[in-house]
């Protein structure tokens, strides 16, 4: 009944499609085409959120996965053809150094830095992108101030794990898409929302939640782990099951929602772990404060090296997340 294997082809397409915050056109088109035949209605709101509906008579559930990814935006092009840039979302200068970035038109550049006395002084305004062109005149034929780029790194599928850029949060999009495809008849009315601009401040989810006005909100996103050498203490490990969020910087999960998710996991023998995240937040942070308040929770996929070009997840955690989401959506009685 369940997908225990992963649809590598779809996942790879999702991970490799361009979509930094505010420029989600291509990833939105891909997801729209992928899900259209499985839903009753699809629309795009004024900010660019993709909202797909499976009609039903029960509770209105909003499932949110964000389509956007971190990246950079060009701020200035100098006479020598070097591009200065700023971050779009949480981009560390240290993980960015000497990485490659790719623009919407396919142009690839290397990130370099000015000469520094000490590497600890590294900041984004001391760095630049070199696309191999030697004058501003040549550069502006292809790239202009305001253009955005994402990091580029190859997709790796290796035994039990995936290593890739943008698992945050295309893996959440993947989980939602697979659950949506598997979902037969549900008593509930389900809004699968693929949100924009999560990485710059949970912005898309805010307007989407206002529009949907749900009874229950569930975000699907990655979470960090505490299972690497000398990591910060955190009770989440790769391969130990889907993580049910208890708290992060953006939300204290409604205990009724947390208990409900736990109950569904236990009933269906789905391995799970509780997640308390010290830093970061996700779309539920916006959803739960919409209108007069929405009980909200989060299904998290444990992920190492979040916001780097080499994020890592275990396939078993992904399939368990799909199972949990599906079982929640199929639930007849939701008393929250």
């Amino acid at each position: 009944m369940f997908v225990n294997r992963i649809n590598i082809e779809l996942l790879k397409k999702l991970l490799m499609t361009f979509g930094p915050s505010g420029s989600e056109e291509k990833i939105r088109k891909l997801i729209k085409e992928e899900i259209e035949e499985f839903v009753d209605e699809v629309k795009v709101d004024a900010l660019g959120n993709l909202i797909a509906v499976r009609k039903g008579k029960g509770k209105k559930i909003m499932v949110a996965s964000h389509m956007d990814e971190i990246g950079i935006m060009v701020t200035n092009i100098d006479d020598g053809g070097f591009l200065r840039f700023t971050n779009v979302g949480g981009v560390s200068p240290f993980t960015s150094l000497y990485q490659r970035v790719v623009f919407d038109d396919g142009t690839i550049g290397t990130i370099g830095m000015e000469k520094l006395e000490e590497i600890k002084d590294l900041k984004l305004d001391k760095m630049f992108i070199d696309i191999g062109l030697s004058s501003k005149k040549e550069v502006i034929k292809r790239i202009n101030v305001g253009d955005v780029a994402t990091f580029c790194s190859p997709f790796v599928y290796q035994k039990d794990c995936i290593i890739s850029k943008t698992l945050d949060d295309r893996i959440g999009c993947y989980v939602a898409i697979e659950a949506l495809k598997e979902l037969k008849d549900s008593p509930n009315e389900i809004y699968f929302v693929f949100t924009v601009q999560e990485e710059v401040g949970l912005r898309g989810a805010k307007t989407a939640a206002y529009g949907v006005n749900p009874d229950l909100g569930i975000a699907i996103d990655v979470t960090m782990t505490g299972d690497t050498p000398k990591a910060d203490t955190m009770e989440v490990s790769l391969g130990k099951g889907v993580a049910i969020k208890v708290k992060d910087r953006s939300i204290v999960v409604n205990p009724a929602v947390k208990d409900f998710m736990t109950e569904v996991a236990v009933e269906n023998d789905i391995p799970f772990q509780y997640e308390i995240l010290d830093a970061g937040g996700t779309d539920s942070g916006s959803i739960h404060l919409s209108r007069s308040g929405v009980p909200s929770g989060v299904i998290s996929i444990p992920c190492r090296y979040v916001h780097s070009p080499s994020e890592m997840v275990y396939i078993s955690d992904v399939t368990n997340s799909i199972k949990l989401l599906l079982k929640i959506l199929e639930k007849e009685e939701i008393n929250i």
Partner: protein, 342 residues
């Protein structure tokens, strides 16, 4: 001149009355509806034609300033900041306090009384006070109350190559642009909002946008400009005299690409200088507006201002004219059904 009148008026966040009164007087004959909402925003409506979009135009009335915290036994006034002010610029500046505009000077421990170490550390607000010439607490209290608002005392001066120097250009220049726009005629429905409390967290715009519920919004601002010798080009943000600046991204908003393209092209087609504001930190009312209800695409068109949030900001009257002209042409060019998202 209207801009002079607007910058000389006092309107620190939460105390926008004086500015509001000038604006209402100026625009009331040009709009179909006008009201002041519960937070103090001026909301105006200019009715358009059927099928044309609802456009919100916003400029904030408030400015950064100070507030009286306490008065000591010697009659000196301690104060706190309202909005983002670089504390290092405060010493020796002239201020006006309260409704009666009592003049004062910001004082600090004299240099000859400072230890060697102290001289190397910029003075904090806690170490500063305002001297109003009173020699006791009782005398000061006759003129000043705790909670009184304080503004910089700074003249509007025209100088250089069509430049002006004034306080509060952020965002009285935006108010002046918006006033001018409201005097024009358009097919689109124009919701003009003069907002309060932008400088302390984009607060007025939030409720104004909820109320207006437009198809899209344009924010008019005075924005950062650091085009100074020695500052690397990629940190200039904007350049004085190179036309109004259109925002791409700041700390609170990623601006609408569609709107930006149309506004930029409007300027270029009409031979008006226009520039992009380099993506950087900072923010304006669009940060609150664009996530209201089901989402409102936003653009921001700003007049570059050097030394923003200080008693003496500098801007170019040419950029100001360019801003008004570009916005007016764009608004007049809006077609039926355009920008309406269903």
């Amino acid at each position: 001149m209207l801009l002079k009148k607007l910058t000389m008026a006092n309107g620190v966040s939460g105390n926008e009355d004086e500015v509001r009164n000038i604006i209402i007087e100026e625009i009331k004959d040009y709009v179909d509806e006008i009201k002041t909402d519960r937070l103090g925003n001026i909301i105006t409506i200019k009715k358009g034609k059927e099928g044309f979009p609802r456009v919100m135009l916003a400029a904030h009335m408030d400015e950064v300033g100070l507030m009286v915290k306490s008065i000591d036994d010697g009659g000196f006034i301690r104060f706190s900041l309202v909005g983002g002010i670089d504390e290092r610029i405060l010493v020796s500046k002239q201020v006006l306090i309260g409704k009666d505009k009592i003049p004062g000077v910001i004082g600090a421990k004299a240099i000859h009384l400072q230890e060697k170490d102290e001289r190397n550390i910029p003075l904090k607000v806690k170490q500063l006070y305002i001297d109003i010439g009173a020699d006791s607490k009782e005398e000061a209290e006759k003129k000043i109350k705790k909670g009184d608002y304080i503004t910089f005392n700074s003249e509007y001066v025209r100088f250089g190559n069509n430049l002006i120097k004034a306080k509060a250009l952020d965002d009285r220049v935006g108010c002046a642009v918006l006033i001018d726009l409201l005097k024009g005629e358009y097919d689109a429905w124009i919701y003009g909002a003069f907002t309060v409390q932008e400088e302390i967290g984009l607060r007025g715009a939030k409720v104004a946008a909820y109320n207006a519920d437009p198809n899209f919004a344009i924010v008019f601002e005075g924005t950062l400009c650091s085009d100074i010798t020695g500052v690397p080009e990629h940190s200039h943000i904007t350049k004085l005299g190179k036309g109004p600046a259109i925002s791409l991204k700041d700390s609170y908003t990623i601006f609408s690409k569609e709107l930006n393209k149309c506004i930029y092209e409007t300027a270029v087609e009409n031979n008006i200088k226009i520039q992009y504001r380099q993506p950087s930190s900072g923010g304006n009312d669009a940060g609150a507006i664009h996530t209201i209800k089901e989402g409102i695409p936003c653009a921001a068109l700003s007049v570059p201002c050097r030394y923003i949030h200080s008693p003496s900001s500098i801007m170019s009257l040419d950029d100001f004219e360019g801003c008004k002209k570009t916005a007016k042409l764009f608004l007049k060019g809006i077609k039926k059904g355009e920008y309406v998202c269903e």
